[in-house]
Every structure is written in C-alpha cells, then in structure tokens.
C-alpha cells in the first residue's frame, strides 16, 4: 500500500505509488467536457472516475462540513466528495480527489483548502487531494501536469465546447428524440480514443474533426419552430452543473425554450488574457507577457478553427470568438475586473443578446462576491447599452426553493413571449 507522504507545509501528496493504486474521483460540473477529460486522464495511466451523483445528501454533507456561509459550489463539490467517500463504494485508503484551483482573488481559490479541512473533520485525513491548475500551484510527484497532458486536456475542452454548442442548438428541434444525444455520445467516445492515442491535437486534425462534427450534427433532421431563446450565464459551476442550478436547462426545455450556454474556452482564454491585462494595467515582466501572449495566440488560433467549422452552416450558431466577446464590454466594465467571471460575465450577456438570445438567466450562488459586481451590478448598464436584454438574476443555495426560482424565470419568459408576439 502506498505510503502517506507530506510536503514541508504538511500537505498530503499524491505519490507515484498512489498513481498505480488509487482511484481519482472527479466532481460533477460540465458533463460533456468532463467526460472527455476523464478519458484523457485514464490514457495517462490514472484510474479516474467522474462522479455523477445528484442525491440530496450531497448538500447535507456540505452543510455539515463546510461553513454554511461559504458559497454553494463549495458546499456541493465538497458534499459530493464526502457523499461518495461515505457511500462504501470506494476503498477509502485507495482513493484520491481532484479539484480545480483558479488562484484568483475570489474565495473559490480556497475550495481545495476547505475540502482538506472537511476531510479531516470527517475522518478522512488519509485521502489526498490533487489541485488542477494552470498556475503551477501545489505540485504532486504522482500527478504531472506537463505540456502533453495539458495540451490534451485543453483540446478535450475545446471539443467539449463544440459538442455542447451543437447539442443545445439542435436538440430542441430534432425530429427523432434522442438522436442529438446519441451523436454527442458517439463523438465523445471517438474523440476520447483519438486524444488518448495522441491524435486530434494538431491544427490539421483539429480542423478535420471540427468539420466532421459539425457536418454530422447538421445532418440530424430537425424541424425548426419558433421557440423562446434563452441564454444562461453566471458563476461557472452554477451555470453548468445541474445539481447546482436545479436542472435549469431541463426546466427551460420544458418551457419550450432553446437554450444557449456559452462554452468554457472563452473562460480559459479570459484567464490567460488576465495575466496580460495585469501587465498592461500595472506593469510587469515583458518575458512573462510574451510567453502568455504566445500561449493565448495559439489557443485563439484553435478557437478560430472551431468557429470556421461552422461557416457553411448558417442555421447553426457558431461559438463567438474571444476578442469579439471582449470588445462588447469595452464601455461597460474594465478589463481589470478579473475575479470570478469578471468582465467576461457581462460580455457573455451581450454576446448572447447579439446572437438572438435576448432572454438571460444570470445564475449565481447566493452571496457570490464577484457577481455582486459583474453580475447583478452590471444589469442596469447592460440594458442601457442594449435595450433588448431581458435579464433575470437567480440565486442558488441549499435552501433557495425551486418554486421561487422557477416563478422568477417564468416572469422573464412571459416578457420574452410578449416580445415574440408583438
């Protein structure tokens, strides 16, 4: 059995032996993307499992072990882990947890620490936690975030965005129920295989894959009826994770809406671009600037390929290019606003409004600090800039009830329908 090894600060490390013996549990968030990413992890020799639990006990565990004023995503992510560890499904001496860490000024950077505290209180001090981040924080001997690994992971997320975008675009109109979903599954498995083998990464393969995917999806027979078009924006976890947003996408589908949820790629680009903005605004190392600029340009070129794959299909909504999105908030909010979703949040609202998704659900955990500013704080200004925007902010939290949330969303939808009718 793997020995427990700690670093000088007392942090339990994920060792090479653990890599052989342990199963790494990964929390729910954005389904399609994480399914691809998980397969990639496996291809690097990790035993990994994506949690897909949604039991109410998750929130209860969270409330028990995390300060109740901490934001909802922390409660849920930690609650989901504890719920899994308690389930008896895993050998608790052979399991590790993985969690992303952004390192920004928002309290989200602390989730990993709150998780470790909770593990100790819940009597799982032996369970190591791996931080997944792009900032070089918290290294582990048994988990190497080298360039090939990160490149594959990021490619996985890019493909995830394409699939998610197409799914949202087509599924509400498909003639044969389930066809879109099957297509998503098919491509997840195809892409996972490719990426595991180290294929699908070059620009040429990227171009080829993206075109094939769009072509495949475009071939799904649809019948386009007028539907209310709704965009979902907000705090990244609540916006994507159905356990956090009370199945928001499903609810909107049941109200005869077409949903658009901006992808994760722009969020990654935003995070990298923030380092450039910091240097532009406050000064700093020009070498660091150049390195990040090269990385950003490379990733932008991949995004360009993705977008281009849509160009022959005007009926399908292509993802929006990063710089275009960025430009939309030029006079709304400063580019220095980089905690949480920062300026990207109002930018995505405007992106959606421009793309015809004028009706917006802005989701945030109750008491979310950055969203006081970039979410609720910007609604007035956004409406000033673009009067078409019809926005409802919704708070999520363990005891906020679905009835109240859905009632507010329905109000927004009534206004939307009225606009369609007139």
């Amino acid at each position: 059995m793997a020995e427990l090894v700690y670093d000088e600060t007392g942090r339990l490390l994920f060792t090479k032996e653990m890599k052989e013996e342990y199963t790494i549990l990964c929390p729910t968030m954005i389904d399609i993307h994480f399914r691809v990413v998980l397969e990639i992890m496996k291809s690097f020799g990790y035993k990994a499992e994506l949690l897909n639990t949604a039991s109410p006990n998750i929130a209860q565990e969270g409330l028990k072990y995390v300060h109740n004023d901490t934001c909802y995503p922390a409660l849920l992510v930690i609650g989901q882990f504890l719920d899994a560890l308690n389930s008896g499904k895993y050998d608790i001496n052979k399991v590790a947890l993985i969690i992303t860490q952004t390192g920004g000024g928002c309290r989200a950077s602390n989730y990993i620490h709150l998780l470790r505290k909770a593990l100790i209180r819940a009597n799982y001090p032996q369970v190591p936690v791996i931080s997944l981040n792009l900032n070089g924080m918290e290294k582990n001997p048994g988990f190497s975030m080298n360039i090939p690994f990160l490149r594959k992971m990021i490619s996985g997320l890019y493909y995830g965005d394409v699939l998610m975008q197409l799914k949202n675009n087509i599924e509400p109109y498909e003639d044969n129920k389930g066809e879109t979903k099957n297509m998503v599954d098919k491509w997840i498995s195809l892409l996972s295989k490719q990426l595991s083998k180290g294929e699908g990464l070059s620009k040429a393969q990227f171009t080829h894959n993206a075109k094939e995917i769009v072509k495949n999806f475009a071939a799904i027979p649809v019948h386009r009826t007028p539907k209310v078009k709704v965009g979902i924006v907000g705090e990244i976890y609540v916006k994507y994770a159905p356990i956090a947003n009370n199945d928001l996408e499903k609810f909107l589908a049941s109200q005869d809406c077409e949903v658009c949820v901006p992808g994760i790629v722009n969020f990654i680009l935003y995070n990298i671009d923030n380092r450039l903005e910091d240097i532009r605004l406050y000064g700093g190392n020009s070498i660091k600037y150049q390195i990040n600029k090269i990385l950003l340009d490379y990733l932008l070129s991949l995004q360009g390929i993705m977008i281009k794959a849509f160009q022959d299909y005007p009926e399908l909504l292509a993802p929006t290019g990063y710089y275009h999105v960025k430009k939309l908030v030029k006079n709304v909010i400063g580019y220095g606003n980089k905690m949480g979703e920062g300026w990207l949040l109002p930018a995505e609202i405007l992106e959606l409004v421009n793309a015809g998704y004028e009706n917006i659900v802005c989701t945030q955990p109750f008491g979310c600090l950055p969203n006081h500013i970039s979410g609720k704080g910007m609604i007035r200004k956004i409406k000033e800039v673009d009067g078409r925007a019809n926005i409802v902010p919704i708070d999520y939290d363990p005891s906020a009830t679905r009835v109240n949330q859905e009632n507010r969303i329905k109000l927004m939808l009534s206004v939307a329908r009225e606009k369609i009718e007139t």
Partner: protein, 965 residues
C-alpha cells in the same frame, strides 16, 4: 361566456370572474392555510353553482402556489407580475409604476419608458409575512398595528431586509420601553425603504404610482410610508387586492369544462416527492423509553405556603417571554412565572411581585438577580440586587442538574446560546447570528400560520412518518421550503417534525459549527423553552448521537440560575421595592437621540414615579455619567481621529472628492498626499450615518452585498450634493504586499465596487468619475500608469509632477502606518503598565466607520478593556502557515494578529464580521482555530445595517466574565 382568474398565492386564494363585457361579476379573497386543493375545489364548485351556471367558461391560474396545479392539470398559467401588468393596462392605463406587495413577494413594475419588472430576490422579507411576524412580536393584529402607527411620534431605524433582522432590532426597542406606536410606524417605514432599496436598483420611481396587493390594501399607514418615502401620492385603486386574479382572468384562452376542472384539481395528486428523513420514533416503546429517561431530570420543589426562611428571586427578561423563579434555601422552587412579555415586561413583574407579597405577607425575599435582554431596565425599575449575564445564569442553573456539565445549549424564543465549560469557566460561546435564528418563535410562527397552537403542533411531529428535510436556513427561506413541501404532499406532521429538525441542524451546523458530538462535550445540558418540545430534543440526541439532560424547567433555567446566583452571592443592598412602592410604581418612557458622539444612539429614557431615571439604548456611559469612559484608550477612536486630520488643502486644480468608505479608510493618506501634491483640493464625504445610506440606497443593485459596500452609494451622493464634480474611486485588484500572505489581493467587493457605482448611479453622468484600475502594489510602475489614467481626464499633468506626488503618497502611507503603530504601541504599553485587558478588535480598515461598527468599540471600553486594532500587531509576527489559502492583504493581518496574541494572557481577540462577507466565512474559521488551538477564546460579532446590541453585550460580557473567573 365567463372568465375565471384564480390567484393562488403563498397564503391566500383570490378569484375574479369576468362576464362577456369584461365586468367583474364575482370576486373573493380568502386565506387557504395551505389547504390549497380543497379550497380551490370548494371555490370552483361554488362558482359553478352560483355564478357560472351553464355559461361557457374559461379558466387561468396564477400565483406561486398555483403553478404546480396549473401545469399538472394543463390550465394556462399566468405569471403573477405579468398578470398584474395586463390588468393595470386595462384598468389604469395612465400608470407609470406599480408597487405590489404580497404575502412573501414584493414587486415593482415600471410600465412606461421601457418596461421592466423587478421581484424581490431570495433574501428579502419586507413583505406581508414580515408584517405578520412583526405584529405577532408586538402581540397585535396587523390591523391594530396600522392603528398604532397612526399615532406615532418618531421613526426608528429597523432593518427590514428580513424578519429575523428586524426582530433583533425591534426587540431591544421593546425591552427598552419604546412606544409601540412608534415601533409600528417604524416597521411600515422599514418595509417601504426595503422595497425601494431592494427593487428600484437605480431606476427612479416617479409618475403615477399604483399600490396593489394585500398589505397595501389593508394598511393605510403602509401606503403613507410609501408616499413619504417616494414623495408622491400613489393611486390606490378599487379592487387593489384582485389585480393578479383580474389579469389572469383577462388572459384566459380556451373554453373548459368546469366539472372536469373541479375533478382534476380535486384529484391533483401531489408528487409525494419530497426529501425526508427517518421518523423520530419508530415505535411507541421507543417514545416511552425516551420519555422515562427525561422524566428524571427534575428540579427540587417546595411549597411556598409552608416554607419558612429566606427566599431568593431570579428573573429572566427574555426577548419574547418573561420568567421568574422564587427559590428557598435548598434551591427548591417555591414559585414560578412564565409568560409572554407582551412587549413590556415592567407591569408584568410589578403585578407578579405585588401578588406574591399580598398572598404571602410573611415572604422575605432576601436577595434577587435578573438576567436577559431586559436586565438593566428591570434591575433599575425594581431595585434588584444583581444583574448577571445570561451565560452565567444558565451555567449556574445547569450545574445544579449536572455538576460536571461541559456543554450547555439553550434555545429560546429569539436566540440561541451555546457554550462550552472548561475548568469551571465558560469557555467558548456560540450565539446565533442575526441571520440564522431558527428558534422557538420560528416554530411558533409556523404553527400559527398552519392554524395550530405550538404544543399541538409540536406533538404532531413526534410520530410523523416522513419528516420533511427542510434544510437549515433562515426563516425567510424556510417559508418557501415549507410551501414547496406542502406542494409535494408533505403532511402537517411531516412539516412539524421537519421544522424541529431544521432548528436543531441550524444550531449544530450553523451556530455551533460542530460536525460530531466530540466537538461538543460529554455532559450536555439542553434548555430553553424550545427544548421543552420533545421533537426538538429527540432530533438533537439523534443528530449528535448522545444522551443529554433536559431539566423539567428547561424554559426557566435563566431565572432559576439567577435565583441560585442571588442565593449564592447573597449580598443585598436592600433597594428592592417593597409592596407600598410597588403599588405606587409607575413609569413612562421618552425617546431622545443622544448627540454626545457620532453614534447618535437612540436613547429610551425611563422615568419612574419616584424621580429615578433609567436610560437604555446607549453604547457608552456618556449620556448617563455626563463624563465618560473616553479615557480608556481605544485604537478605533485614535485611528479615526488620525484619518480625520487629512483635511482639504485648497489647490489650483480644484476639488477632487474621495468617497469615505471601504478601502479609502486606509488609502486616504496615500491619495490625500498624492492629489494634494498635484495641486488638487482633496475633499472627502462625511462620516457615514443612516442618512448617508438612505441617500444612495435606491441605486444598490445587489441586496445581499455587505453594508460597507452599500454605504458607498450614499457617499458618492454626498459628494455630488456638495457640488464636487470630480470623484476619485479607483479599482484596486491588488493591495500592498505586507509580506504576510501568499498573494495580496483585495476582496472582490473592495477591489471592484467602483464599477458598481459607475454602472448604477445615474447622477454621475456629466461628472468626472475616475474608477480606473490602478496598481499601487507596483511602486515603480505606478507613476507612469496613473499618469496615463489621469491624462484621460485632465490636461497638463506632467509625469514629473506625478513622480513627485507618488513619492509623497508612498511616504505618507508609510508615515500613517508608523503613526498608528506608535499609537497602538502606546496603548499596549499603558495597558501593560495598568494591567488592563487588551482587546484586539479586528475586522477591516473600514470597520472604523461608526455607522458600520455601531459603537461596539465603546461597549468594549465601557467594560474596561483597552482596544487595539489588528494592524497594530500584525507586523510583529512573520508570515505564518495557514490551513487556508492566505491571499488577501487585510485578511492576512487577522491571522497574524491571532497568532501574535496566542501566548499572551492579557490579550483577547474580537472579530467584527460584516454580514454577507463571503471571505469571512473562511477567515472566521481560521482565526478561531488559531486561537482555540492555543487555548484562547474566539469571539465573533456579526454586524450589518443594524446590530443586535443585546447579543453583542451578552457576548462581550460573557467574555469578560470568563476572563475574570
């Protein structure tokens, strides 16, 4: 052809039937007590027989409680705000803005100039349910509340963000003897302010304003409050109750078969799909065993008629109840009193004592003690011997049942107190914060809403088959959780049990923050009226997996403890009123505002008949003693004074205004030096007060942001009102790196609030508002960067000038810190020389603002301790290893300060936490663990728009009582 519109809200069903000429031919309004399907079918049957008869008919449904039924049975659902809009368009086409208050919702609709609808978020209770709660608290009906308000003379500040907050505002007022009519008017005023603040969000409410909904229909004084707040006279239409139902009726589309509809709704099967937990008892045997076990914890009793000897009186003037216990020399209870205080405890105790003396003329009350919120008032009114802090009273009482008790939890009507006992001293106190009061009155309110009295209601829960899991949040959330559970088919039994569970979970996980019984103690005594509820007791034992002692006098423990305390200390001053004086006793109350300092305490002056006087509501001794405790060194005062020295120096470039809040409380020396050097006259907005807040509240977009941030709106308005046309309030992602942390961020709100101001204060239009992103942390790059920024706004500021200014700014910032550290060091030296306790009152720089700290510093000095701030001592330690990511400059100081005092007995730490501060959910746990790992007591005080002074005092006095022991 007839159209039926049903508005099924959270508490009522409203119905309108329109005939073919769109005339109202029927309307009704009734409370449904959650019997929704029954009431709906009864109503529709009545319509069928009496109104519709054989006419063709259409039906549409609206309202939060009607949503599920409408969907399930496939009738058109009209969102209620939307329905209001339709009705108003038809009936009052000239309306510009509609304000509608419902049972639990508040809405504002802007009709003209760009339609917009606003609805309260999930944390906004200034609604009908809130008014109901407040009436219950005052022991009147809402109608009586309205009558009372008509006679008001003055308005108090009451937080209306949620009922729980308001209660903690109203209760102290009641206990201090404020007039009910003033409180009633203040409640309405609070609702109006809340609605406007919460929903207007920067949009001005003007033109023809229409008032709709139950509360605004029934309560004329509430309408007046809105008129005053908005400076208009609103339209109050006929049928103002029925607009939603009316709009719903207008929205009908298809003919339906009414019989069929009645059948459908009757058969509307609820999903039964609610979260539940195992039953509290699986069998009657289990219950009996439980009952037997708890029957053993009984207090000694004695007969007052046969008792000979000295008696001791203990009084507990609680938030909603008043309790008294009379004991004999062996702690045996001779007599007891437990009743609602009806908002005024004085006449109750007066009558009680008169009765005692009259019935038992030989009774000799040797000594007496009083505890609870009304302690001061009662002590003075009746000349009682001791006033003791509640924790001491409860500990004294608990010891008589379990001498080695090490954990006591007391859940009363309004508050919850838990504390650990270590080495015979009270060690660690947990009080419910202003927002988590899942306490007794909460169960009571629900019992009443559902039409039960509390005892029957509680008993129902014991044998519930599927207690519903309601989560553990505040009352406002709970209302909607209960509604949802009812909708899903939970029975009253299930809900009763579920509420008990929620009370316990709230206590354990939110207030105490324990995850396992080991974190509590081995010998636990539970008490307080709420634990007389067997369901609550059972859940507590089950949840923690321990057996506990519940004395049979659980509700009287405070009074009992006070009596025992009186007996044990037994040094009477002989001031207690005798029967003659009691009979002649009278008192009246006058309210005045103290003007001796910036806190502007609202004082209640109780004038007793024998020309004695008692003043309540004060934070310090100034209004009482005229001279003051000002001599006790207080770093809060010193720091504030130092900052106020940065006064404007006229310069050729004109005025530049700094809003005096948030991080400006620390950056002022920097910017003052910087801009003064550039030739600007640096003016600041005045110190915060309630008026400053009110000035800007209509532009606050997020009602859950912290109070310090909300105040910024008012500060910007203050500057604008003073004619300042250039305002400087930059975004600062990063703070200075003080070497105490891994990174040196500001929190998101401090960093970016200028963006919110810029986006939501329309009056800034046409003025210069500089909210650019600046990096003071990079001293070398700073001049060039700010040069670029300032040149966007001003002509001809050279880089050279800026470089000089920047140098001065950095130097001044250093000098400021040196000054306050020196001042702090002096205080510490003095405290050490005089052997006085030192309290490190920590928080954020902006907690210096008296409107934010509510004078808590003065309460501390009035208790005899010297105050220093965290930044005075944080530089005395090196960077430490924390178990959380230590990445915010202000917060790193907290950890450092906690670390510094760990091995210093003279020091203790009190942390001020602004409500809504998400980051403090991390720092409080960390500071607590640093202190507790070193055997120190951690004390946290939550503050918001208002603060519960009573709770603050208990906390601080308990801390000091412990220190003395």
């Amino acid at each position: 052809m007839m159209n039926i519109g049903l508005d099924v809200g959270s508490t009522t069903i409203k119905c309108v039937v329109l005939d073919e000429n769109e005339k109202i031919c029927f309307q009704s309004y009734e409370r449904h007590f959650s019997q929704i399907t029954e009431k709906m079918t009864a109503l529709l049957t009545k319509l069928k027989n009496e109104v519709v008869k054989n006419n063709p008919v259409q039906l549409a449904i609206s309202g939060s409680a009607g949503m599920g039924i409408a969907e399930e049975c496939n009738y058109p659902f009209v969102q209620e705000v939307y329905a209001t809009r339709i009705a108003t368009a038809k009936r009052i086409p000239e309306a510009d803005v509609i304000i509608e208050l419902g049972g639990e919702d508040a809405k504002i609709l802007f009709v003209t100039n760009g339609m917009e609808v606003r609805m309260n978020g999930s944390c906004a209770g200034g609604t009908g349910a809130f008014i109901d709660q407040m009436s219950t608290l005052l022991n009147v009906t809402p109608e009586e509340l309205n009558h009372l308000a008509q006679e008001h003379q003055k308005i108090y500040t009451i937080a209306s963000r949620c009922g729980v907050f308001a209660k903690s505002d109203v209760q102290p007022l009641l206990n201090q003897g404020a007039r009910k009519s003033d409180i009633a008017a203040s409640i309405f005023n609070a609702v109006a302010n809340q609605t406007i603040a919460g929903l207007a969000q920067g949009r001005e409410i003007k033109g023809n304003i229409v008032y709709l909904g139950g509360p605004l229909t029934f309560l004329s004084e509430l309408r007046k409050s809105f008129n005053t707040a908005l400076n208009v006279t609103g339209i109050f239409p006929e049928n103002s109750l029925y607009f939603v139902a009316l709009g719903t009726a207008y929205s009908c589309k298809d003919n339906i078969d009414l019989d069929h509809a009645i059948g459908n709704i009757k058969n509307y099967t609820q999903s039964g799909n609610f979260l539940s937990i195992p039953p509290l008892f699986n069998s009657t045997e289990e219950f009996e065993a439980f009952e037997q076990r708890h029957k053993k914890a009984v207090a000694k009793r004695g007969s007052i008629t046969t008792y000979i000897g000295d008696a001791y009186l203990g009084i507990d003037a609680g938030s909603t109840t008043i309790k008294a216990v009379l004991i004999g020399s062996e702690n045996q209870i001779l007599d007891e009193l437990y009743q609602s205080n009806s908002g005024d405890p004085i006449p109750i105790i007066n009558q009680y004592l008169i009765n005692l003396y009259e019935q038992y003329p030989n009774l000799n009350i040797k000594c007496s003690a009083v505890t609870g919120y009304g302690e001061d008032l009662l002590k003075h009114a009746f000349g009682l011997d001791y006033g003791i802090v509640e924790t001491i009273a409860h500990y004294t009482a608990a010891k008589t049942f379990l001498p080695d008790v090490d954990f006591i939890i007391d859940i009363g009507g309004q508050d919850m107190k838990c504390f650990k006992v270590r080495n015979n001293t009270i060690d660690n106190i947990f009080l419910n914060e202003a927002c988590s009061s899942g306490c007794g009155s909460f169960l009571q309110t629900f019992a009443n809403t559902l039409g039960y009295d509390i005892i029957d209601f509680a008993r129902k829960g014991l044998f519930a088959k599927r207690p519903v899991d309601l989560g553990s949040r505040c009352t406002v959330f709970m209302n909607s959780s209960v509604k949802q559970a009812q909708k899903d088919g939970a029975t009253t039994e299930d809900i009763s049990a579920g509420l008990s569970v929620s009370v316990v979970k709230n206590a354990i996980y939110k207030v105490i923050r324990a995850a396992s019984p080991d974190e509590l103690g081995k010998h636990i005594v539970v008490q307080g009226g709420t634990f007389l509820n067997d369901a609550v007791l059972r859940v507590f034992e089950e949840e923690m997996g321990v057996h506990v002692i519940r004395p049979d006098i659980a509700g009287l423990m405070g009074a009992y403890g006070a009596a025992v305390y009186a007996k044990e200390h037994n040094r009477s001053k002989g001031n207690m009123l005798n029967i003659q004086k009691l009979k002649a006793f009278s008192h009246h109350v006058k309210m005045v505002t103290c003007s001796l300092c910036n806190n502007h305490c609202k004082l209640t002056v109780n004038q007793f008949n024998d020309s004695r006087k008692f003043i309540g509501g004060n934070r310090c001794d100034k209004p009482i003693k005229q001279h003051t405790s000002i001599d006790i060194p207080n770093m809060y005062e010193t720091k504030l004074k130092t900052l106020l020295n940065y006064t404007p120096i006229p310069g050729p470039r004109g005025k530049i205004g700094l809003p005096m809040g948030m991080n400006m409380y620390e950056m002022l020396p920097f910017w003052h030096a910087f801009f003064t050097s550039l030739g600007f006259e640096v003016v600041t907005s005045p110190l915060s007060n309630r008026d400053v807040y009110i000035k800007g509240q209509h532009t606050i977009p997020s009602d859950t942001v912290c109070y310090p941030a909300k105040l910024m709106h008012g500060h910007v308005y203050s500057l604008l009102n003073e004619g300042v046309t250039t305002i400087f309030y930059p975004c600062l992602t990063y703070n200075f790196d003080e070497g105490l942390s891994d990174n040196h961020y500001n929190c998101p709100v401090v960093a970016y609030y200028p963006e919110v101001i810029s986006a939501n204060v329309p009056e800034l239009e046409g003025h210069i508002f500089i909210n650019d992103y600046l990096g003071v942390h990079r001293k070398k790059d700073f001049p060039q960067k700010i040069h670029g920024v300032l040149n966007k706004y001003f002509d001809g500021i050279s880089l050279k000038e800026i470089k000089t200014a920047a140098e001065k700014a950095y130097a001044e910032y250093e000098r400021y810190f040196e000054t306050i550290r020196k001042q702090g060091d002096a205080i510490i030296e003095q405290a050490e020389a005089n052997q006085k306790p030192i309290i490190v009152l920590c928080g954020r720089p902006y907690h210096l603002d008296p409107e934010i700290n509510h004078g808590i510093d003065k309460i501390i000095t009035s208790l005899g301790a010297y105050i220093v701030t965290e930044d005075v001592i944080s530089s005395r330690v090196a960077k430490l290893n924390t178990t959380v990511l230590n990445q915010w400059t202000y917060h790193a100081r907290l950890y450092a300060a906690a670390e510094y005092i760990c091995n210093k007995p003279q020091y203790n730490l009190v942390q001020l936490v602004s409500f809504g501060c998400g980051i403090d959910s991390i720092t409080t746990d960390e500071v607590r663990s640093i202190l507790e790992n070193n055997g120190k007591i951690y004390t946290q005080i939550k503050i918001d728009e208002i603060t519960n002074q009573g709770a603050v005092k208990i906390r601080l006095r308990s801390l000091f009582a412990t220190l003395e022991q």
